[in-house]
């Protein structure tokens, strides 16, 4: 139990860095993240046929119907997920010309070839909406970070340097958000998992949960600061971490078990959402123990300042750059 977390902090930093490097690289390379239709616009249709239909035949049929861009994916028995560009849906014109909508053309065309088709679900998002969603998503995540920073600053106002508590919590959550994005970028490359607006919800929930966790640790540090005034800060942080470790793991465990149950038994529609929550919450539990508190120590200990000074100092001496 009496583990010296602080002494091993550089190992934790290295581990945290190592965890996000593959994901960040994947993010930076072209096609970093696979945007779902919420962000990139388009149409996703789930259709069910009465009898078996070959994937390639369906693909050709859609080509015939003028949708060469269609991507067809088998879902379960006789069901397919079809991805298309966003439908042009100027309602008034279609009706005035007596024409059929794009959807009707597709459904009629498929019925003609393969028999009755049932449209189980259809989502179509136009580019106007998609662009706005991207914008609001970024805004929401930024606002959540600022809101949390300000709240922590206020909640820890009685401790010396309260802003450091907020800043360290936010730094830890940026790490978790990057980790989550990185993992989804890699998953996108490997399994074609897309990022949609539910993913943003998951990210925000994870941020909330991670901070929740960090606060519990910080809260104990705050208490021990007052109770053991004058003690060396590494002892206080180590002690606080030891005292809250069981709780962090227990809570993490409960939430993770809940999410696993949701992943296994809940609907397929929200499976990626649950996966994002799962990854984020594991990262959050890790981050509150190994990132936030360690950063706080490094800052209090002056290491953060030294690090940045060294960083800027090196730039000034090109001879040493290699």
């Amino acid at each position: 139990m009496s583990f010296d977390f602080v002494r091993h902090r550089f190992k934790f930093y290295a581990l945290s860095l190592a965890l996000i490097v593959p994901g960040v690289l994947s993010l930076l390379l072209p096609g970093g993240i696979r945007p779902g239709i919420d962000f990139s616009s388009g149409t996703i249709m789930t259709v069910r046929f009465e009898g078996p239909v070959e994937q390639t035949v369906l693909r050709e049929a859609l080509d015939d119907l003028g949708h060469s861009e269609a991507i067809v994916q088998r879902s379960d028995n006789n069901s397919y997920v079809i991805r298309l560009r966003a439908f042009e849906q100027a309602l008034t014109e279609t009706i005035e010309t007596g024409g059929r909508s794009e959807r009707q053309v597709i459904v009629a065309g498929l019925t003609e070839r393969f028999g009755p088709v049932e449209v189980l679900s259809l989502d179509s998002v136009s580019p106007i909406v998609a662009t706005e969603t991207v914008w609001y998503s970024m805004l929401a995540v930024a606002a959540a970070s600022v809101g949390i920073l300000l709240y922590l600053w206020w909640a820890f106002r009685r401790v010396p340097h309260p802003v450091r508590f907020g800043a360290c919590a936010v730094a830890a959550l940026v790490h978790e958000a990057l980790l989550l994005l990185g993992v989804f970028s890699i998953l996108g490359r490997l399994f074609g998992i897309e990022v949609d607006s539910l993913f943003i919800s998951a990210t925000l929930t994870v941020i909330g949960f991670a901070v929740h966790d960090t606060i519990t640790v910080f809260d104990r540090i705050r208490e021990n600061f007052i109770r053991h005034a004058g003690e060396p800060i590494e002892d206080i942080i180590n002690h606080s971490l030891a005292q809250t470790l069981v709780r962090s793991l227990s809570t993490g465990m409960c939430v993770i078990l809940t999410l696993v149950a949701l992943y296994l038994f809940g609907g397929v529609t929200i499976r990626n959402f649950i996966l994002a929550l799962l990854i984020g919450i594991v990262a959050g539990t890790y981050g509150s123990i190994f990132n936030a508190s360690m950063l706080l120590y490094s800052w209090e200990h002056g290491e953060l300042g030294n690090f940045f000074r060294r960083f800027t100092g090196r730039r000034g001496i090109p001879a040493r750059a290699t």
Binding site: S2, Q243, T269
Partner: protein
């Protein structure tokens, strides 16, 4: 004595919650539960206030239906109050959707030029789209002398061609005015453009003393008797104030054909929706059992108490969802199930603290009280940040009409708020009641024999530590 009141409050709230939550057809939710009596639902009447709920309000993704976001092309209505134009569009949509016979449709504005339309249970979406997509058609009709049926009035246009008199010739400035002579009766004043004025003059000359039908989308909205020849300006009388206001909006909407296009569409089949509901219930049940087992194994007696509190939490939260009502979506249910996992966090914090206090030699009663008091600040801080995130999520969802995300944020926020009650108030009163009996005074039941995490100290600093003295 005070604790007895706390227990009573908890019991009463739980019973009310259970009464609200109990399903109408238990067999649908509890396997083999067909023989259980069904709930009559909530049905209260206090004077003119009537409150009725039959169960949870399900979102479109759970009950099946269509969600549309419509964009009104405001460039086709230049120089007009956009809010007014949009209000007119909504009036028209509402009337059409109601005429179509959709149960509990939702039509609301989003921003300055958009309308969200939710049509639960609508499967043939093309029909519905055709219905709502048409621009409002206003026309003037006269009765056919032979059959007595309404037919669209035709007159000779400025170019000598026969023309039907429709809202096309309306200036979109119909408004409610008050007749000064007749004791300030409300009237709707309207104005034609040049062509319309020419047509209307011929028509009113022809129809003096006879009714003139004003039709919006083939439905008569007013049939005043023509009293004088009118060309450019006219008034519609004989309407009540509320009707006059509606009519003015409708006339403007009918006169302003703003093209509408669909910029977002989400359709879910009802079978897919009910499948999701079933799966969510299973997932929720499994989650609850897992969390309960975990808590009892980790914290023993308090864990059992926390499980009871968690059950009360689930019942109360669902009851609030039904009473508010919160529209439950798939993501919303996921948020609720997730909050079950998070709701025990407050208890874990408190129990861990209690264990520490026990190890530090406090008596059971004192340890319980200290556990709750000391853990409160972190429980509170942690939940406030979750509420901040929920607020932002709600805003985020509202900005682009994602009811899915709004639902998730709302359910999570309600969950967090109720968990504060159940984890702190309920657990505390239950624990207090339990430690009143002597058989519970066994530290094993509280799992406090596990060794204490001691504050690790580097050898050079041990002097300092001994000055403080180990907590006894």
């Amino acid at each position: 004595m005070r604790n007895r009141w706390r227990l009573l409050i908890t019991a009463v709230l739980t019973l009310i919650g259970l009464a609200v939550v109990w399903p109408r057809y238990p067999g649908n939710f509890i396997p083999g539960g067909e023989f259980l009596p069904g709930s009559p639902g909530v049905n209260l009447q206090l004077g003119s206030y009537r409150f009725q709920r039959e169960g949870a309000t399900l979102g479109l993704d759970l009950q099946g239906g269509t969600h549309l976001v419509l964009l009104a092309d405001m460039s086709k209505a230049p120089g007009q109050d956009q809010a007014e134009v949009l209000r007119g569009v909504i009036q028209v949509l509402e009337r059409r959707v109601n005429a179509y016979g959709v149960a509990e449709p939702l039509i609301q504005t989003q921003g300055t030029d958009r309308v969200i339309v939710e049509l639960p249970g609508v499967k043939d979406i093309e029909e519905a789209k055709k219905l709502i997509g048409q621009t409002a058609q206003l026309d003037f009709r006269e009765r056919d002398p032979a059959t007595g049926e309404w037919k669209v009035a035709v007159a000779t246009g400025l170019d000598g061609e026969p023309k039907e008199l429709t809202g096309k010739y309306f200036r979109p400035n119909a408004q409610v005015v008050f007749d000064q002579r007749g004791g300030s009766q409300p009237q709707v004043a309207f104005e034609f453009d040049d062509e319309g004025a020419h047509l209307f003059e011929q028509l009113t000359r022809r129809l003096i003393g006879q009714p003139l039908g004003i039709f919006l989308d083939n439905q008569v909205i007013s049939a005043p008797t023509v009293q004088a020849v009118i060309s450019r300006n006219g008034v519609i009388t004989g309407v009540r104030l509320q009707e006059a206001r509606t009519l003015a909006i409708q006339l403007n909407a009918g006169a302003v054909p703003v093209p509408i296009s669909i910029i977002e569409e989400r359709t879910v089949d009802a079978t897919l929706g009910s499948d999701s509901v079933r799966k969510s219930i299973v997932a929720g049940g499994v989650s609850f059992v897992i969390v309960a087992l975990f808590m009892i194994m980790a914290y023993r007696l308090p864990g059992l108490v926390a499980t009871v509190a968690l059950f009360i939490y689930a019942v109360l939260t669902l009851a609030v969802f039904i009473l508010v009502p919160v529209t439950l979506t798939l993501a919303g249910i996921a948020g609720f199930i997730l909050s079950v996992g998070m709701a025990v966090d407050a208890n874990i914090l408190i129990f861990e603290r209690m264990r520490e206090e026990l190890r530090w030699g406090k008596t059971l009663g004192a340890a319980v009280e200290a556990g709750f008091d000391r853990a409160w600040s972190s429980v509170f801080d942690a939940n406030v940040t979750t509420l901040i995130t929920c607020g932002l999520l709600y805003w985020f969802g509202q900005q682009f009409g994602a009811s899915v995300i709004q639902g998730f944020a709302l359910t999570l926020a309600i969950g967090v708020a109720i968990s504060l009650f159940s984890a702190v108030f309920t657990t505390r009163s239950l624990l207090r009641a339990i430690i009143g009996s002597s058989w519970t005074h066994n530290p094993v039941l509280f799992g406090s024999e596990i060794p204490e995490p001691v504050m690790p100290v580097a050898p050079s600093r041990s002097v300092r530590l001994s000055q403080r003295g180990a907590p006894s």
